[in-house]
Symmetry: C2
Subunit: 186 residues, 2 copies
DNA sequence: GGCATAAAATACCAACCAGTAACAAAATGA
DNA sequence: TCATTTTGTTACTGGTTGGTATTTTATGCC
């Protein structure tokens, strides 16, 4: 029955539209398998979406973390983030993680817990990045590192979410650049 | 049967949780009326949510437009917007309009059309506000007025949406202030 | 071949959805 | 006082949801 293929199909479907708008039935149909097969493999809808999220995290979100840990300085990293959010073709229909986070209340407990875990990991990565920048003397705003990290994360999320709603990428880049310019002004 | 009361009940329910998560059945039960009564009055679920949105626009969104048209200068208006988005108790569970806009694809055609109309009106109001500020010499960024208006609107929407997800209002104010500081730096 | 075992699919469940047909009660008008 | 129209209710339709009990099919194994 090939669990990997099912995960791929489900990830694509969830990602392309929205987890809340794709039923278990639809996924079975798309993957060409029967419902009991799916339930034997993943236990429940929650189990499936959790597995999908795991896969998404290691296949896609890892790239975002990579940018943050690359250590190319404040400006270099911010530019890479802007490029990723506003032009990377993989984000053309938005980010599955952000879609899940936006519809938190509709998720099962397993998936919800994983979303919050990933969210915390992301926040920590942003914090580490900003701390390094501050220690290097590249950034010295009055803002706390935690607030700056949250701000940065939310601006990225906003930009990618706008990608999903068909906004012009040039416009998105313009707005994100503006939003992140608060980190580099002196 | 009192259509006003039904609209109030529906508006509160949609607003408190999310339009997509409140069924017609639930509204009938909350309002203490039967389903056929509701359908005779509003025609369809789309008709109801459209009527609710109309009511919301004139009761709540009007206040936002009022702030924008008050003409208290760039700084004064931005401060008023920040106050409204991050501390007004009415926005504690988010904004019904933004919730509808975020779930566009789930709306009926009438409601969708109204959402887009309101969106355009809002954009126009932000544009007028920024134009006035620029003419008064209070703002002279390299940004186009349209891009600035979109940016401003999205930042307000982001802040209010974060209110709905239980984020700390102080933190929200901090982030929104930071985001809007791009308009007042020299 | 014959048979146990595991994997799959068919067909079903109860709960909910938006929407309506049929009917009873009450208000209105002549 | 009686016909008409409006208002509201009960009870239903057809469809979809997540989840399963049951039956069929395929796979070893002897």
């Amino acid at each position: 029955m090939n669990a990997e293929k099912v995960l791929d199909v489900a990830m694509t479907a969830y990602w392309q539209s929205d987890p809340a708008d794709v039923s278990v039935n639809a996924i079975c149909q798309l993957a060409g398998i029967s419902k009991p097969s799916l339930y034997r493999e993943f236990g429940s809808e929650d189990g499936l979406s959790r597995a999908v999220l795991d896969r998404y995290a290691e296949q896609v979100l890892s790239e975002l973390f990579l940018i943050l840990h690359r250590g190319t300085g404040l400006r270099g990293t911010l530019d890479a983030l802007i490029d990723f959010a506003s032009d990377d073709p993989r984000m053309e229909t938005g980010c599955l993680f952000y879609k899940m986070r936006a519809g938190k209340h509709r998720l099962g407990q397993e998936t919800l817990a994983r979303v919050e875990e990933i969210d915390a990991t992301g926040q920590a990565a942003y914090v580490a990045f900003l701390k390094a920048a501050r220690d290097a003397g590249e950034w010295a705003d009055g803002l706390s590192v935690e607030a700056g990290a949250k701000y940065l994360g939310e601006q990225i999320a906003l930009a990618i979410t706008q990608r999903a709603s068909g906004e012009d990428p040039g416009r998105i880049r313009e707005m994100l650049t503006l939003a992140l310019s608060v980190f580099t002004r002196r």
